[in-house]
């Protein structure tokens, strides 16, 4: 009996020791020492700044480590997952403005207009835009007056956060515009939809249009005045510019045109004090952060501090190959990928002689590298087929190389003044009211005078100013800046047979494609997990 008692005591002692040990460990919350919580981030004005910094950097960078290492978006090579590279591919590669020789998964499908709902690049731009929107929603949720006062953020600090929040709403509207333009009917959520909840509902293109317009109007009074914000931050000017762009395409998005509002808002931007810089060649250089008079909003890159393989790094590096001297481009090595088709070249006057970077063309915007390149494209993967482009160069206006030979300093304008001139002119020509055709002519000639180095030789007259002219002029002024697909769709020339270019539709001489390809398919990856989504027709 005594033995049994002893046994029980021994066992009990052993077990209680164990119980004591385990209760310490079982429910322990371990935290990584290198991370912090949302509550800590949003407890100080500095934290708010670093959070809005991420909202902005979501369209410049691919993740938390530059150039790669901690990606925001999965399912795509990180180097190709930044906003502007993806947007550029979707806007430029299916058009006459660009071809690319890379064999990246899904990339060649843009030329052949054969993309599927599994296309990695389409998936990339879809998730990139929606990712930035998710960050915007979270920032807006964290920035209500109630949250600010509960965290003791007052005075100037609170005013700043309110500006940030309005900018987050602007960036969200901008990304919803991207989605509306590319995918028409994306999923939709705002700060009022909790994270981790049910899959979001789909929104129709027309309803999204109404939302974007109302949202941009709603934040108008909350934004910093046009041209008055810090570099890199959106202001009223950006919000108006986006509205002008959206109204110009209203016919495509909703079936109902709104050229009058396009005139109103482009005029607002033009009147806000912006002006063209004097030399077109300096627009896309390493020190183009100086071009604040012309650029309304830029995505900011830096060779040492904002590194990725997209954005302007992609635009410069992939355009350099063949006999192009890499030092003139401020880089150590080109990727030999992107060129233009002969259609774009033919919009400019014929070459006179060769002189880098303008190629001797009276229109200085014809920044084509022709030496060693064939104008005609026989094989898309051959870099020397098709003229190369030297519009983007990682050197400064004084000729110095950028900070880094592998990553570019060039900031990418997503709104700049000439687009407003062109919107104004097109909207007037298409019958919008409140504008004036002579004013429009003046804007166009202002642009062309700059292009012709101050000479009026390239100026046009009223009879030259047609909608077709505006389309061509948009190509001349804005090529490779991410406009072409949207423009061709607005002019009904993207898929149909009325306008062809080499390799359109996958045929060397060009062919039409079914009209459903004016809208990209929603990615299969999201359709598979969000039962609320319905695929766009045709796919």
């Amino acid at each position: 009996m005594k033995n049994i008692l002893l046994k029980i005591a021994l066992t009990a002692g052993f077990l209680s020791f164990i119980t004591m040990m385990e209760s310490c460990n079982k429910n322990k919350i371990l935290l990584p020492n290198t991370e912090t919580t949302s509550a800590q981030v949003y407890s100080t004005p500095a934290g708010y700044l670093q959070a809005i910094g991420k909202v902005y950097s979501a369209y410049a960078l691919t993740g938390n480590d530059g150039p790669t290492g901690s990606p925001d978006i999965g399912g795509i090579d990180e180097g190709t997952s930044d906003f502007f590279r993806l947007f550029w591919c979707a806007e430029e590669l299916p058009t006459d403005e660009a071809v690319v020789g890379f064999k990246d998964a899904g990339l060649p499908d843009f030329h052949t207009m054969s993309w599927s709902s599994s296309n990695v690049f389409l998936e990339g731009i879809y998730y990139r835009s929606l990712y930035q929107i998710t960050l915007c929603n979270e920032f807006i949720r964290q920035s209500t007056d109630a949250e600010l006062s509960s965290r003791g953020i007052t005075g100037t600090d609170a005013t700043n956060v309110r500006y940030y929040a309005a900018e987050a709403r602007f960036l969200r509207a901008y990304q919803y515009w991207v989605l509306m333009d590319l995918f028409a009917n994306p999923p939709f959520a705002t700060e009022n939809d909790a994270l981790g909840g049910a899959p979001p509902k789909q929104i129709s293109r027309a309803a999204l249009y109404a939302y974007i317009v109302s949202e941009l109007k709603a934040i108008d009074g909350s934004m910093v005045a046009a041209g008055k914000n810090e570099y890199g931050r959106a202001d009223q000017g950006a919000a108006w510019a986006l509205q002008a762009r959206v109204y110009l395409n209203a016919q495509v998005y909703t079936g109902t045109a709104d050229y009058t509002d396009a005139i109103t808002y482009s005029q607002k931007v033009i009147n806000a004090g912006y002006s063209l810089i004097s030399n077109y060649d300096n627009l896309m250089l390493a020190d183009n952060n100086l071009n604040t008079s012309e650029n309304i909003l830029t995505i900011n890159y830096d060779g040492n501090q904002t590194q990725n393989y997209g954005g302007t790094t992609f635009l410069v590096h992939s355009a350099v190959g063949g006999s192009m001297p890499v030092t003139d481009f401020g880089i150590s090595s080109g990727w030999a990928g992107t060129r233009v088709t002969s259609n774009l070249v033919s919009l400019f006057p014929a070459n006179v002689n060769t002189s880098f970077p303008e190629n001797g063309n009276p229109d200085t915007r014809a920044e084509f590298w022709t030496s060693g390149q064939n104008l005609a494209i026989n094989t898309i993967t051959t870099f020397t087929d098709g003229y190369a482009v030297n519009k983007f160069r990682n050197v400064t206006s004084t000729g110095a190389q950028g900070e880094n030979l592998n990553y570019e300093d060039i900031d990418m304008p997503i709104f700049r003044l000439p687009e407003m001139y062109l919107i104004y002119a097109e909207a007037v020509l298409r019958g919008g009211t409140g504008g004036d055709i002579n004013t429009a002519l003046g804007y166009i000639n202002t642009m062309r005078t700059r292009a012709y180095k101050g000479s009026t030789a390239g100026n046009i007259t009223l009879t030259d100013l047609t909608t077709d002219f505006v389309l061509d002029e948009r190509a001349r002024e804005l090529y490779w800046e991410g406009f072409r697909r949207t423009d061709l769709i607005r002019y009904s020339r993207f898929t149909d047979g009325s306008y062809l270019w080499p390799f359109k539709g996958g045929v060397k001489t060009g062919t039409s494609a079914p009209s459903y390809r004016n809208i990209y398919p929603l990615p299969a990856a999201d359709l598979n997990v969000n039962p609320n989504l319905k695929q766009n027709p045709g796919y």
Binding site: N25, V41, N64, P108, T306, T327, G506
Partner: protein, 1007 residues
């Protein structure tokens, strides 16, 4: 080096001195210990009952007990696998008596003790699918990592070495693995200490710190009934490694040394310089002759330039014996290996101490293990083999001038660096200039106390503490003249910097505490034996990473490389309760039940607790009367098992929380004039849990002719639920579009057969053979939350060629990582038509919707066959493995075997796979790399090892034991695969470090 040997021999002799004993006026007993066929049994032990006096037989089975006081004694002779024999004898002073023992073999190894989780059992009482391999059956030759000891030896266990780099580890898969995106690595337990499969910085492999010479046995718990006691880490099976322990008796010293030379077996098939010239001249249609102009006069075999003969020496010494009441084993090992790729090398020191004393008349047993190792390695740049394949063979290795370290590079005077834009670099230069090396220290130590309760001897109290700590550090240095790191940074004054230096450090700390009670009682009256175990364990895994900035040459700090946090710590805790009951009735019917309860901090507190039960039944049919004295069937056992295990590896430690992390110094964003480090909210998966695998196993163990032929046949079915799989998150609902969550089911079903036979068993001739075969079929049965999903699956298997291309997919209805490719169209000449694929969905266009799923990288069957033959003092043997139905994507050919690669778009003539001569592939279509043309049947038969040994017997005046051996490793491979080596764990062959053929000479000496 010399110094080191001196130290080692000093150690050696000090042990010799220890063993000296005094002589007195006493008698001696001597004689031979033989088996039933009068074959000598070296190493058998003789003990005088009731005393501490004992000795071991020498190589000829002779023993001698000296210094015995006169009297009558009972002498016991013992040998593993034989029935102990007792004899009485009278000893007189000054008289030498002779006493011979003839030991009868035990009926096979039924009483062999098998180590299982938290205890051990006898082979005959095993209920689960457990395989053991002991040192006598290990692979021979130059084995530098322990898992290779059992390659090809066990059914259901696939061990594929990760290439031939010094110290490279292996991919181990038990019954195909159970996960998709979680880990498929088995849990490895070394002397009771579960170790992590995480690879510490600077190490190539988590097991390379273990000296294979110290390993006594492997136990592989293959099915859930055996492994469930390891709970949520056991789904991929458990490998228990037991290291050698001290043996009582006089000190035994063993010394072994090996010397080996390795060479590659085959170069990647590329164009020779002459073929290259012809090809370029024939195909360069550029008006400027861009590519022809790059043809030089040299004839360089670049692969030959990067490879060398690798030399390895391996020396081991161990001493085991008893110092007083403390049996000990002390060993030291030194391995010095140079790889077949120039500059790659490994050097390893290991030291091992085992002490196993008993106190209080064996009531308290203590087992202490200390293992320490230092591994120094030099690594080669991962691009070297690629570059050797692609570098222009008409260019020379050296330029004749001192620029870029004297190495030939493709030049362009217009670039800042002087090197041609987008040029690949001289692979020899890359090898010679870059110095990447590491030093890793590791110790695995454990202390196990086993207390047999004084007043209740059926109960044992066990307490184990263990520590597994590593410290890895290393650095990479590139001089400023090296072509690979020129002008990588420019400061504000426009000064360019070259070269590179970065040092890294990581420590890993894994602590274990456990206590368990074990109870064992034989109730003779009711013919019952009960064994029970109940315990608790807690383990703390912590990794600390020290991040350092990098420097340019001359110690100039790279300001963009300053880390946000100099130290980052990653930790998780595992707290567990477990129990097992084993009930044997009448030595015929065996029932086993186990239960484990695990709490892991990798999951949210509410989701932490997991229960993992198992049950098994075994019936020893041969114990039934109708079989008991059957002349043919000596063993027949039926096993039925079911169990549930988990897997929590391969996921982050904190992912149930959404934490904010700061961007690094090269991912800042400019707002105004300030560059901000920004805060990113992390994607999270709050409800994540371990994946669960339920395994059903049915098996028969058999033995014929007094177990001369033994074997087993296992049939298993594993179903994994809550797969840790990468899944898409609905956009806008999380801070990430993909996350590893719990979605989907997968099954593995298969058959394993294992046969061992002693074909000849005579005094002078002995011939044994082992054959095993595994059939495994893996199938994903669900991968989406929505059962009606039309998802084609998630692509995987990243390849080179284009960016972001994947060659495999995880898709419902198919095996894991099945190939996902376009169907190539062939012309009338039988050659592939460039860029033409079958429009499988007939929609008129070729896009991702035309990809189809075919073939698997995993074999349908794999085999192991080994045999050993002994004739008198000669030994000869081999180990072969075969794999059938495994497919390989030949990424070397798909990327380099095209005109587009050889005359490439960046304007550089590059060498490529000679397959281009046969295929005529242009490669101008972006989808060419995804063609099924590049998919090849990778079935193979490989002889891993062939060995020949000779036993000299006693060379030193009747003492000692000397054996010499010669081995060839990777003797031959028979395959139709056109690349270098079809054996890959991923199914993608992309210029990995080749497995060399190695010739080994070895010498073993014991005293």
């Amino acid at each position: 080096m010399r110094n080191y040997y001196l130290k080692r021999y000093l150690l050696f002799f000090s042990f010799l001195l220890l063993s000296c004993a005094a002589f007195a006026q006493t008698g001696t007993i001597s004689g031979k210990i033989l088996d039933d066929k009068r074959a000598e049994l070296p190493g058998s032990t003789v003990k005088i009952a009731g005393t501490q006096q004992s000795t071991a037989a020498d190589a000829n089975g002779n023993y001698k007990l000296t210094g015995i006081l006169p009297g009558v004694y009972t002498v016991v002779a013992q040998f593993v696998g034989y029935i102990p024999q007792q004899k009485q004898i009278t000893v007189k002073a000054g008289v030498a008596v002779s006493l011979e023992f003839l030991l009868q073999p035990q009926s096979e190894s039924l009483n062999e003790v098998v180590v299982i989780g938290y205890g051990s059992t006898k082979r005959k009482d095993v209920t689960g699918a457990i395989s053991t391999v002991t040192s006598k059956d290990f692979q021979q030759g130059m084995v530098t990592t322990p898992e290779q000891l059992i390659a090809g030896k066990v059914a259901g266990v696939s061990i594929i070495s990760n290439g031939g780099a010094p110290g490279a580890g292996s991919t181990i898969r038990i019954r195909g693995g159970a996960s998709i995106n979680g880990s498929n690595d088995p849990l490895i337990v070394i002397d009771g200490m579960p170790v992590s499969n995480d690879i510490i910085a600077g190490s190539a492999n988590p097991l390379d710190m273990i000296n294979p010479n110290d390993v006594e046995s492997f136990t592989i718990l293959k099915d859930a009934s055996a492994a469930a006691i390891y709970g949520n880490r056991a789904s991929n099976g458990v490998i228990i490694i037991t290291t050698k322990k001290g043996r009582s008796g006089k000190p035994q010293i063993t010394f072994s040394t090996q010397l080996s030379a390795s060479n590659i077996t085959k170069e990647a098939p590329v164009l020779s310089a002459a073929q290259f010239r012809d090809y370029v001249n024939a195909n360069d249609n550029t008006t400027a002759g861009t590519y022809k102009s790059q043809l030089g006069t040299a004839n360089t075999d670049w692969q030959k330039e990067i490879y060398q003969t690798g030399i390895t020496t391996d020396d081991n010494i161990s001493v085991s014996g008893s110092a007083g009441i403390v049996p000990y084993r002390i060993s030291a090992g030194y391995t010095d290996q140079t790889g077949v790729v120039k500059t790659s090398a490994m050097r390893r020191f290991t030291g091992d101490v085992n002490l196993s004393p008993s106190f209080f008349t064996d009531h308290l047993k203590i087992n202490f293990n200390f293992k320490g190792a230092e591994v120094a390695q030099r690594f080669t740049d991962g691009n070297v083999i690629d570059y050797a394949v692609s570098f222009n063979p008409t260019d020379p290795v050296y330029s004749g001038n001192s620029k870029y370290g004297g190495f030939f590079e493709l030049l362009d005077p217009t670039t800042t660096t002087g090197i041609k834009s987008s040029a690949i670099l001289n692979p020899v230069g890359l090898l010679e200039d870059e110095n990447s090396h590491s030093n890793v220290y590791r110790t695995i130590s454990s202390l196990a106390l086993d207390y047999k309760v004084h007043f209740f001897p059926d109960l044992h109290v066990n307490v184990n503490v263990g520590f597994d700590g590593s410290n890895g550090m290393g650095s990479k240095t590139v001089p400023d003249y090296a072509a690979s790191n020129l002008d990588t940074y420019k400061d504000a004054n426009g000064v360019l910097y070259s070269g590179y230096y970065n040092a890294y450090k990581e420590t890993y700390d894994n602590r274990l505490f456990e206590g368990f009670l074990s109870y064992s009682k034989n109730f003779k009256s009711i013919k019952s034996q009960i064994d029970a175990v109940a315990g608790y364990s807690t383990q703390d895994y912590k990794t600390t990473n020290h991040a350092n900035p990098s420097y340019f040459a001359n110690d100039v700090l790279n300001p963009t490389s300053i880390p946000n946090f100099p130290i980052s710590i990653n930790e998780y805790l595992l707290t567990s309760f477990y129990g097992r009951v084993n009930y044997i009735y009448d030595d015929k019917y065996i029932l086993t039940g186990t239960l484990r309860n695990d709490y892991s901090t990798k999951f949210a507190p509410a989701d932490r607790s997991g229960f993992f039960p198992s049950g098994a039944f075994a019936w020893r049919i041969n114990q039934e009367d109708f079989l008991k004295n059957n002349p043919v069937i000596s063993t027949l056992k039926l096993r039925l098992e079911y169990g549930v295990t988990g897997n929590q590896d391969g996921i982050g430690n904190y992912d149930y929380l959404s934490d904010y992390s700061l961007s690094n110094s090269t991912a800042r964003y400019q707002i105004g004039n300030v560059f901000l480090n920004t805060y990113r909210p992390g994607a999270y998966y709050p409800g994540r849990t371990w994946e669960t695998t339920a395994t059903t196993n049915a098996a028969i163990d058999f033995g014929f002719f007094n177990d001369r032929v033994t074997g087993s046949a296992d049939f298993y079915y594993k179903k994994t639920r809550n797969l840790l799989a990468l899944i898409s998150q609905p956009a806008l609902t999380n801070f990430g579009n993909q996350i590893t969550g719990n979605i989907g089911n997968m099954t593995n079903k298969g058959v394993e057969l294992n046969l061992n036979g002693v074909i000849i068993d005579k005094k002078d001739i002995n011939w044994t053979a082992n054959f095993n075969v595994t059939f495994n079929q893996n199938k994903i049965t669900n991968l989406t939350a929505d059962p009606n999903s039309t998802s084609s699956g998630l692509q995987t298997g990243s390849i080179s060629g284009g960016t972001g291309n994947y060659i495999q997919i995880n898709s419902v209805g198919y095996p894991r990582n099945a190939f996902y490719v376009y169907q190539q169209v062939y012309g009338a000449n039988g050659k592939p038509v460039d860029g033409l694929f079958v429009d499988r969905n007939s929609d008129g266009i070729i896009n991702q919707n035309d990809l189809y799923i075919t073939k698997s990288p995993d074999p349908k069957q794999y085999f192991g066959f080994s045999s050993d033959f002994r004739y008198k003092k000669w030994m000869i043997g081999f180990v072969t493995r075969a794999s059938l139905g495994n497919y390989v994507y030949n990424n070397v050919a798909s990327v380099t075997g095209t005109e587009d690669h050889i005359l490439n778009s960046v304007g550089i003539a590059s060498n490529g796979s000679s397959s281009v001569l046969k295929s005529g592939m242009i490669g101008s279509n972006g989808n060419d790399v995804l063609s099924d043309y590049w998919l090849e049947n990778g079935s193979f038969l490989r002889m891993d090892n062939a060995h020949l040994g000779y036993n000299f017997g006693k060379p030193f005046k009747g003492a000692g034991d000397l054996r010499v051996s010669a081995n060839v490793e990777n003797v031959f491979i028979i395959t139709n695969y056109t690349g270098v080596d079809p054996e890959t764990s991923s199914g993608i062959d992309n210029n990995s470090y080749p497995r060399p053929r190695t010739y080994v000479l070895g010498l073993n000496l014991s005293l």
